[in-house]
Amino acid sequence: MTSQTIPEARVRSAPDLGVLLTGAGALLLVGSALLPWAGYAGFPGKMTLSGYPGGARLYVLLLALPALALLRPLPGRAAALRAAANVELAVVALTVYFVAYAGGGFVNVGGGVYPAMIGAILYLVGSRRLPTSEAVAEGVALPDASWRFPVESLVVAGTAGLALWLFVIGLGMPSSSIASGSDLTLGPLSINDVANSGQFLAYVITIAGVALVAGRLGLLKSLTIMTGRHPKLFVAAGFIAAAAFPFTQNGSGESLSIAARIGVFAAAAVGLNIVVGLAGLLDLGYIAFFGVGAYFGALVSGSVTSVTGVHLPFALTIVLGGLVSGIFGLLLGAPTLRLRGDYLAIVTLGFGEIFRITVNNLDGSAGPSLTNGPNGVSNIPDLALGSFNFGANHTLFGIDLSFQSNYYWLELLLLAFVMTSFLRLSESRIGRAWVAIREDELAAAATGINTTRLKLLAFALGATLAGAAGTVNAHVVKVAAPDSFTFIESATLLAAIILGGMGTVPGALLGATVLYLLPEKLRFLHDLRLLVFGIALVLIMRFRPEGLVASKRRAREFHDHETDPAAEAVA
């Protein structure tokens, strides 16, 4: 779909050296993917089998496929092949390294490793010799025809599904030291840690590589054009795909539990994004609102440890939890919102701490009896909707579903609600006013915007969403305890939206996912996990200070700043 007419002169009559080398490298790589890579059992992906491209060999095969572009000169193919070759070399090197390391030495690798290494080098060398003068790929929209809508819809829906499917595969990759038939340990790391982390890294690199190749060939731009034309379809497809996730888990709850936590974390991040991303109010105590909701939910859950003894229907609990939290937002905001920037940050930090200290103390001995103090409100019963018990495993369409899927779906609904609220708000008059306040409060006030009221509204709405998320989370983790609402939690939420890109929904989702999954997937590092996490935060900010998904607007602001901090000076 990206084909354009290529000037006749560019199509060479005789294949040049670059094309030959690239092709040879790619063929070797394809061949190597069908040969065994490991001389011993136990490495994930059945690496001892031949004729079966399992495990990381699949990635090697996948990254060799762009060489098909050699057959027909496409715009951007040289750049695409170079990207593919770079990533291919990285994947091959990484996998060989891990296979050899986990096997206890290079002698234990399988025969496929050698052609793979030679192929990867040929592929790289060849791709660097390809002529570069070819046209840069542009995104292309489909011609306006009767078949455009169904085809585009399929592509859009497929993309959403594919993205989630890739995410699910990555999530499902084992990352802990669970044994799979080996008794070898290598120092502090078990052999499986090494093998699993090697495969996971190769997977992540491959996905990044495929995205790069697609970008160079103009496919991403085409996709953007298409999804931009059917945004609702894209979102709907995404949610349907996400909703189907539990059916792929064979009744296991592990990935669902992680996904559900990402969901609630993301929901809170999107809520915080209203306060920080849209209205520009730096809030370092946001987790307290989440906590208000969690405690409210716990206290009216009918738990035996709740002093109230009240058991409200869950639907009512969510609404009331949100409201109560929103009222707290108003109480906090009213006296403090005239503070500027970092002063507001410390006040919110203070409120967050006051909340934590208070719930830790309201136990009848250090204060009135309400929250059970440090013990928290525990034994929160499972939700039940009619005869449907959230705490039980179910079977649907003949597929076993662990009880975590019930909560996962609940979190998904919550996330959908929070995302919709955010999008509606950000596109409304109120949203634009918030952005105006964020950019220049004085100017906003001068144009007749009631800044105090709107800032208060942002605070209260953010708090309401957090409170609703909190009530849900209390039922998922079954306990509301003060430990869960520390400053670090607020900082992590803030980091999620800054890391993802402020003021955007995909940014908050991505940031929450990365910040949650990164430490989770770094577990194989054991003691060094947080160390690497700290370095990763610093590096991401160093190379993407505007966040992973910068809204177009913010990216522009950032680049203005790059050359001139005082942009007003154009006189």
Partner: protein, 406 residues
């Protein structure tokens, strides 16, 4: 032309792979000896402020597993460990619990450290009937004992939850009886760290001490992580106590006793099993002299196996100290291992059937551990009511009194 960044990274990696792994011996293909593998999970804080205590638990379980593999305690199986970091947070606990439940090889779990985390871990474990033994939780609600305190009937909330330490309502009163009846304390100051363990213990102590006739001053609290306790000490000093009970763990307790004594309030400090650690005497030095701490079971240093454990732990060169709960974790792991040996002896089982069997076997456990004999009642609590009071003498905790709690 400069090579792009990826090449610059990948090329050395490739070369490194060849060089580093060129040495090494050829392994027979087909894998290892044919032993099947079973896994014991650990849930504890392995990072953050409590990581030293958490890692002490993890390492002790690791040691138990290694020794069991050497001795082939569970015939036909190799044991491995899957340690999960709960970061001392309830919500993380729920996730790692789900993770352990999901991996079919996991047949038992040691942990968690914190009672608050246990409250989100235990429901998930109970759902899968995966046995969980905590080396440190003492909160009364975890086994339904809270109802006893208020005069109700005890109902077990989590069917696969067990613990090898005494709950607060046993340890606290035991310590109080000793303080009032043996030390003859008249005016007792109570301080705790406002955490579930510390507060539960301190409150149980205060209740019993009052009942036994001592004057108990208004409870004071300190914050974990703080170092300067002088304000609290000044406040206490004005009320002239002759005894101090501290509910909490050794890092704060050791600082507290030091500052207590240098402020001129030279009264003994007493703590629970969270204080009864070599680290306490090491940090507090001379100030700890004469202080007390209670712990479950008969004195461990009188048992050869306990001494052996300390020696083996040191020999394994772990990065973290044993900590206050290492010995309990070691016992908890061994109870699970013994249950595994029993469950697998009758034939090869796996999956849920094995988990169910292991839970049953743990319920019926009768194991001679390094902290004493371990058996459980129908609620998952240890039936051992023998506790020991230790006193610091010449920089070491020495057993002062061993008794059965009544």
């Amino acid at each position: 032309m400069h090579p792009p960044r990826l090449v610059r990274i990948a090329a050395p990696l490739l070369i490194g792979a060849l060089v580093l792994s060129a040495c090494g011996s050829k392994k027979e293909s087909g894998g290892s000896s044919g032993n099947k593998t079973l896994t014991i999970g650990v849930v504890a804080p392995l990072s953050g402020d409590l990581s030293a205590v958490g890692n002490g638990i993890k390492n002790s379980v690791d040691l138990a597993i290694k020794q069991a593999n050497e001795k082939k305690t569970v015939k036909g199986y190799t044991l491995t460990m899957d340690a999960q970091d709960d970061t001392a947070k309830a919500d993380v606990g729920a996730t790692v619990a789900a993770k352990l439940v999901a991996s079919s090889g996991v047949v038992g779990v040691v942990g968690p450290l914190n009672s608050s985390v246990a409250k989100s871990v235990a429901p998930v474990m109970a759902q899968a009937d995966l046995v969980e033994i905590s080396p440190s939780n003492s909160n009364v609600d975890l086994t339904g004992r809270g109802a006893l305190v208020t005069g109700g009937t005890q109902v077990r909330p989590y069917k696969s939850y067990f613990r090898v330490v005494a709950s607060d309502d046993i340890q606290g009163p035991f310590a109080a009886q000793f303080a009032v009846k043996t030390v003859m304390a008249k005016t007792i100051a109570i301080v705790h760290d406002k955490k579930a363990y510390g507060q539960g213990l301190a409150e149980a102590f205060a209740k019993e001490a009052t009942k036994d006739g001592a004057t108990v001053l208004k409870t004071e609290t300190i914050n974990p992580g703080d170092k300067d306790f002088s304000a609290t000490i000044t406040k206490l000093k004005a009320q002239k106590p002759d005894f101090l009970f501290y509910g909490g763990e050794y890092p704060e307790a050791s600082l507290l006793t030091k500052q207590l004594k240098s402020a001129g309030l030279k009264i003994p400090l007493m703590g629970g099993d969270g204080v009864q650690s070599d680290e306490y005497t090491k940090i507090a030095g001379a100030a700890a002299e004469g202080d007390y701490a209670t712990a479950l079971g008969a004195p461990t240093d009188s048992l050869a196996s306990a001494k052996q454990f300390v020696t083996d732990y040191a020999a394994a060169k772990y990065a973290d100290p044993i900590g206050p709960y290492g010995a309990y974790a070691y016992d908890a792991a061994n109870v699970i291992i013994a249950a595994l040996a029993k469950s697998t002896a009758s034939g090869s089982k796996s999956g849920q059937a094995l988990r169910d069997d292991v839970t049953k076997a743990v319920q019926d456990a009768n194991y001679d551990g390094i902290t004493g004999k371990i058996t459980f009642d129908q609620f998952g609590d240890t039936t051992v009511k023998v506790l020991t009071v230790y006193q610091v003498k010449s920089g070491k905790f020495v057993a002062a009194k061993t008794d059965t709690f009544k």
